[in-house]
């Protein structure tokens, strides 16, 4: 991890954005998943007045499954097109992780740009302090991306590509999901949550572990 890794991360982020703009495969998976899940839940509940705590929990359940459905894609694409080796020759492995994590964060934020307005609309939510709500969303997304990107890298090295990401990421995301839904519920109720420290620390701690460990994933 050094200056050149950060530079490599920026270059990989730009490359991934460019590839994504050509196919729009990753972002469409995330957006469609989020929209479908929101509509299914709304249809199943059928009531416009939703308890804020339940709404926050449902929102983070959607975001969790959206992440495990879509964030594995950027590594799988490299493995499938056999471009991973080239990427590792061109950049340090930490740079690759960082670039992919930033790209995944961007994907999540774009998807939320579509899903959040719909969610707020169909559940008729009154957002208390918007800053608190958006902070919880952003920090939660950073955490989702930091953890899912490393687990996705691990899974891209196996034969199985299916639902493994959900199984492996769930225990690691557990504290994040608890804190994020608690803080989102607090923002919906108009107050300040008390889990903000978890949301701030989580991406840092998990990201640091990921940067230490990522070099073992591709060496052989």
């Amino acid at each position: 991890m050094n200056y050149s890794s950060i530079w490599a991360a920026a270059v990989i982020l730009r490359k991934d954005i460019r590839t994504e703009l050509r196919s729009r495969h990753g972002v469409s998976v995330l957006v469609l998943f989020g929209v479908t899940a929101t509509m299914v839940i709304s249809f199943a509940l059928g009531i416009p007045e939703t308890d804020e705590v339940v709404a926050a929990a449902l929102l983070w359940i959607i975001l969790f499954f959206l992440s495990v459905a879509g964030l594995g894609y950027s590594f799988l694409r490299e493995e499938e097109q056999m471009t991973m080796d080239g990427l590792l020759m061109a950049a340090s492995v930490e740079g690759v992780y960082l670039g992919k994590a930033l790209f995944n964060l961007l994907l999540l934020m774009v998807a939320q740009g579509a899903v959040l307005p719909l969610f707020i609309l169909v559940f008729n939510l009154q957002i208390g302090p918007w800053a608190r709500f958006l902070t919880a969303m952003f920090l939660g997304s950073c955490g989702l991306s930091a953890a899912c990107t490393l687990v996705a890298a691990l899974i891209s090295r196996t034969q199985a590509k299916g639902p493994l990401l959900a199984v492996l990421a769930f225990p690691i995301l557990f504290p994040l999901l608890i804190a994020a839904s608690a803080d989102t519920a607090a923002a919906l109720l108009g107050g300040a949550g008390d889990s903000i420290q978890v949301l701030v620390l989580y991406p840092g701690v998990v990201g640091a572990f990921a940067l230490l460990l990522v070099k073992f994933i591709w060496e052989e």
């Binding site: 691990l154 493994l164 073992f216």
Partner: protein, 218 residues
């Protein structure tokens, strides 16, 4: 020597059982329920100890690339799964009798369940990897990566939620809230469970090495 240790361990655990039911007095308010402490707490301790062993052996594998460390790591996870289930079930029974419900997401219940999910995920991940060294390396990465949730589970979440769980032996005040007989049996049970873990772990990882390292549990 080995046989002597095994016989000693058997005798020790028998004494723990006898002590737990006949020698130790019951705690005020909990009556006979208090005897669960001699089984539940050591099981939870071993579940956590197993994670520590799995992680440390995983780090050793990453440093030395010897498959024996991988066998030790995965054997610890196997046993950890077993003890996590035991601790969860005994804890839920205690919770039902004292708090009225089997499950209420007490911070300690949360911690043991996350631990259990890490263990289960570890095995579903291992099952997808065919090459022994790649499996060892990636499993070690996962088990070390999972350690990143520990600070949140141990230090942060318990403060955000109220707990009904009886305070641990080494509580914030550093006091020991047990009478001497209870403490003797409790410490003997902790030592005994740890001994059982060491013995089972030793058998398990050597069996895995003998099977060529490509058996995943069978």
């Amino acid at each position: 020597m080995d046989n002597l240790l095994k016989a000693g361990l058997g005798l020790w655990m028998t004494l723990v059982l006898v002590g737990a039911f006949l020698y130790a007095p019951t705690a005020a308010g909990l009556r006979e329920l208090s005897r669960i402490i001699y089984f539940h707490v050591p099981a939870a301790w071993v579940a956590v100890l197993a994670y520590g062993v799995a992680m440390v052996q995983g780090i050793f594998y990453l440093r030395h690339r010897d498959l024996r460390f991988d066998a030790k790591s995965s054997a610890a996870v196997e046993l950890g799964t077993l003890f996590a289930v035991l601790a969860t079930v005994t804890g839920a029974l205690f919770a039902r009798e004292t708090w009225g419900v089997y499950w209420n997401w007490d911070p300690r219940q949360t911690t043991i369940v996350v631990l259990f999910f890490i263990y289960v995920a570890y095995f579903s991940f291992r099952g997808t990897l065919a090459d022994a060294h790649r499996r060892a390396r990636l499993s070690a990465v996962y088990v070390v990566f999972a350690f990143s949730v520990v600070p949140f589970l141990v230090f942060i979440l318990p403060r955000a939620y109220v707990t009904l769980h009886p305070s641990p032996l080494l509580n914030a005040g550093g006091r020991v809230d047990m009478n001497p007989q209870m403490l003797q049996v409790f410490l003997a049970a902790l030592a005994g469970f740890t001994g059982v873990f060491v013995w089972m772990h030793n058998l398990r990882w050597r069996a895995e090495v003998l099977s060529g390292g490509d058996g995943d549990g069978e």
